[in-house]
Amino acid sequence: MESKEKYRVPVSQKPHVVEKPRDINTIGGTVTIEINEKKVSVPMGTTILEACRENQIHIPTLCHHDDLCVAGVCRVCVVEVEGMRTLQASCTFPITAPVKIHTSTPMVRKARRHIIDLLLSEHYGECYSCFRNQNCELQKLAKEYGVDQYNFGHLEKPRYETDRSSASVIRDMNKCILCKRCVRTCIDLQEVGVLEAINRGHETHIGTFFDKPLSDVICINCGQCINRCPTAALRANDPSDELWEAIENPKKHVVIQTAPSPRAGIGEEFGLEPGHSMTGELNTALRRIGFDRVFDTNFTADLTIMEEGTELLNRLKKAVLLGDESVKLPQFTSCSPGWVKFIEHFYPEFLGYLSTAKSPQQMFGAVIKTFYAKESGIDPADIVSVALMPCSAKKFECNRPEMRASGYKDVDYGLTTRELAQMIKEAGIYLPEMPKSHFDEPFGDASGAGLIFGATGGVMEAALRTVYELVTGREVPFKNLNIVPCRGFEGIKQASVMLEGCKDEYSFLEGIELKFIVAHGTANAKKVMEMLRKGELKDVHFVEIMACPGGCLGGGGQPIPTSEEIRKKRAEAIYAEDESLSLRKSHENPYVKYIYENFLTEGPCSELSHHLLHTHYQKRGKFIA
């Protein structure tokens, strides 16, 4: 009877959205309403919240988040609409008639105050012992509404046990205010669907399938829920205590590699506007904290391009030149550990399409405890390898049993941008004041191609800069090497490059239009995978997927809050830095050349590089025993 789709896409409760007119100048395109006795004209279908924001009226919100569909559950944004019996949640109310709205009546203020009081009565713990102190939306609201006592009591004991099972995400439901942002993030934004409300009434809490620990469900560790949590209910698994210990231990040689995105985001943790790149300052700060070597993950990003690009060319060669129909094309990128776990859970039958190249983090880990250890004469057992990442899934990735190619755990700790910012503050350093300095040898400063890995489309752009040049001997035909079709925050981007005038060894590619797709956010990844399942990607060669919206710069380890605007500014910072560099192609990185000449002497995708720089995947499936 129901006209339901075959594959039911899980959705949280979605509000009905009144479509806004395309042209507000058409008749009936706008409505004139009154907000606090002031007449304003707004497009039909605008919510009260949007209308108020347009008119400089601040409405408090908690469950509302610009990235998510509205829920209308916290009720803190209620306003009075004349003629309606009850207060209306401004975030859900579409304006379709000339209503009169009052945003600050005694009833409204009392209701908001009551709601904050009620939330505080169920919110366990004290602000000063909380890691979200001064970056907590509930705390901010309590201050805004002058809460100076617990009017309805305060929890004396925690109600729930903290779930520390996951390598990446820790859930403390005692801090949860049930705004369901995490649920909507998981179900709607990422279409993973691990989190949902369980039980009802006062027993309601956010949980997983059968309330299993997070490590035992199909969580992909993307950490997007953390970025959108208004309180301290969600956090990444913080290794900084162990890290301090390693730093203080004179026997340990602690090296850190830093990914491109944290540099573009960490300034926010120190009160700077989004979009300040802090590469040089960060290097100095890391040394002052006590890291023995500071390396640039972009070096292995360049290495990734060499390995992954060669792998693509090998696949193309087999498919085009030898007519081997078993070759899996398009090749999918494998840099994003959230995406890798996503495909392992949701599309295990398509794992063969995934590039076998490790992510830059894990390549670096393997190189540090082999090549670097040998070159610098340090016992790899004494090396503590840390990775500064914008990502919570990287913590899970470095703990994968496959990631021990060096004979040790290749990367010991994954550290997020937020956690490092905390360490820097703890060390008494104000990052923006730091003098700039370079990365350490022997890996030195890397190319801009590695840098743009941080933004969605960056891996594709970097790969194209190299692959095109390897095949044709010429630079990619884009002004300033900026492959614009790869850029921007559109969910799924498709473009192509014509391969012409190929070198002799690649003559089989002559005249082929190299088609590629770039997608970010696993909801978009799902769309691409369904296209693959339906056989619609037969003529596509390369697909880049990043688990997080915006790519790594929007990762689950980045500063809170997040919004599309913030992510755009981080992207701008990354692209600007790329353009400022003279070295912008992975294959031209002298250190990459050096490592292929002195260590991986048989070149990319050789036996040794397969052992160190490539991996295999697990068919996890959706049902875990």
């Binding site: 009877m1 009905h16 209308g72 409300a197 009434g201």
Partner: protein
């Protein structure tokens, strides 16, 4: 009058319990056509019998006006309000009225699908209801080309709820029908535009739908001869508590509480809870009030308490119910009910202050206006009305004065 197994109540009444020839409602409907059905309903001034009292004709007209290829008729048989059991009687003894009401709605609004959302606890009726539906199919009252009318196709399916009180709220009911958690949706939009599967949907109470065939056969004007100006027709009341003859009664709207108490043989009555746990508690001094939408409104539940009852314990029982039955999505209802219950427990232990109780009353009023759905908006009613109407008993007579009760 119908034979029934109930030794107390006799099924007699002006409208629903009056004589009815099965099939006559739909035949009349087909005869007079869609527009006249809506006009007749408007003439009757029938209002929703679930408790909210929304004009049925308006609801149907809104769905009729909504443009969509698909529309749905949902019968809300999730009779969950404490003290209500009249829909059970209708479904068990008068299924023809309910089904025909849905059929008429389907015909009028161009819906092809009717769904009965049956309370989980009523699973025992499922067999008899389904066999009745089978019979209707055989009689060509359901299925394709009903009664020989080309293009009049209508199916009725029965879906079971799972015991959540909130699913009686129409949008939570629809969420539940769609296979989601039973939680109220944001309104607007209303189900008449965006209901089941996003389609225009009529959600009517069992009793509302059962009234429709009678109205069509005997006329809206006839229907209006019963009840008051604003509350037309008659109403089924589920009477329980301290009386000699509890049961389901059909009485015209506008009946005085005092008169109802006499009919059911209630003696020494101290209070009547009108409208179930979410309704309000009416003290003896107000028994002159009438049962009507404009006065003491009810979806049918009448609970009678005599002098021997402890009002605070009754209130506590209601609040425990709401703490358990809140769906838990919006803050005022999820946490507010707990705070009200804690307040009652404090009174019980004698460790309250009037300052705190006043805060709780204020909170109750916030819950009434700030909760997302009718559950949280009505759950403080009992708290506010019992503490107001029985303060003498609670704080003085029963010794809940407490050492702190100053």
């Amino acid at each position: 009058m119908k034979p029934n197994g109930n030794k107390y109540a006799v099924r007699q009444g002006a409208v629903l319990f009056s004589e009815y020839a099965p099939g006559s409602g739909i035949k009349k409907a087909l005869e007079i056509g869609r527009e006249n059905i809506l006009l007749e309903l408007r003439e009757s001034k029938l209002k929703g019998r679930g408790g909210a009292g929304f004009p049925t004709a308006t609801k149907w007209m809104l769905v009729a006006a909504a443009k969509s290829e698909e529309k749905f008729i949902v019968c809300n048989a999730d009779e969950g309000e404490p003290g209500t059991f009249k829909d059970r009687v209708l479904l068990l003894e008068y299924p023809e009225l309910v089904f025909e009401g849905m059929l008429i709605a389907g015909y009028t609004l161009g819906a092809r699908q009717g769904i009965i959302y049956l309370r989980g606890e009523y699973e025992y009726m499922l067999k008899s209801l389904e066999s009745y539906l089978e019979q209707m199919k055989e009689d060509n009252l359901l299925g394709n080309n009903i009664l020989g009318n080309p293009n009049f196709n209508f199916e009725i399916v029965i879906r079971l709820g799972s015991g959540a009180y909130v699913c009686g709220e129409e949008t939570a009911l629809i969420e539940s029908l769609e296979g989601n958690r039973g939680e109220a949706r944001n309104r607007p939009p209303y189900p008449v535009n965006t209901g089941y599967l996003g389609r225009p949907t009529v959600v009517n109470n069992v009793e509302t739908l059962a009234s429709v065939p009678h109205i069509l056969v005997k006329g809206g004007e006839w229907f209006r001869t019963f009840g008051t100006d604003k509350s037309t027709g008659s109403k089924l009341f589920s009477v329980s508590g301290d009386c000699e003859r509890p049961g389901v009664y059909e009485l015209p709207w506008g009946t005085k509480i005092k008169d109802l108490l006499e009919i059911v043989g209630a003696k020494n009555t101290k209070a009547v809870q009108v409208g179930g746990a979410s309704g309000s508690c009416i003290p003896k001094s107000q028994f002159e009030r009438t049962l009507a939408y404009e006065d003491a409104a009810t979806g049918g539940s009448i609970m009678i308490f005599n002098e021997s009852r402890n009002m605070l314990k009754i209130l506590k029982n209601f609040m425990e119910f709401f703490v358990e039955e809140s769906c838990g999505q919006c803050t005022p209802c999820r946490v507010g009910n707990v705070k009200l219950l804690e307040g009652i427990e404090k009174i019980e232990r004698g460790v309250y202050t009037f300052g705190h109780l006043n805060k709780l009353k204020e909170l109750g009023r916030t819950m009434q206006v700030a909760s997302k759905c009718g559950l949280g908006q009505s759950s403080p009613n009992a708290f506010l009305s019992i503490l107001e109407n029985f303060k003498e008993e609670i704080f003085n007579k029963n010794g809940y004065g407490g050492h702190n009760g100053k």
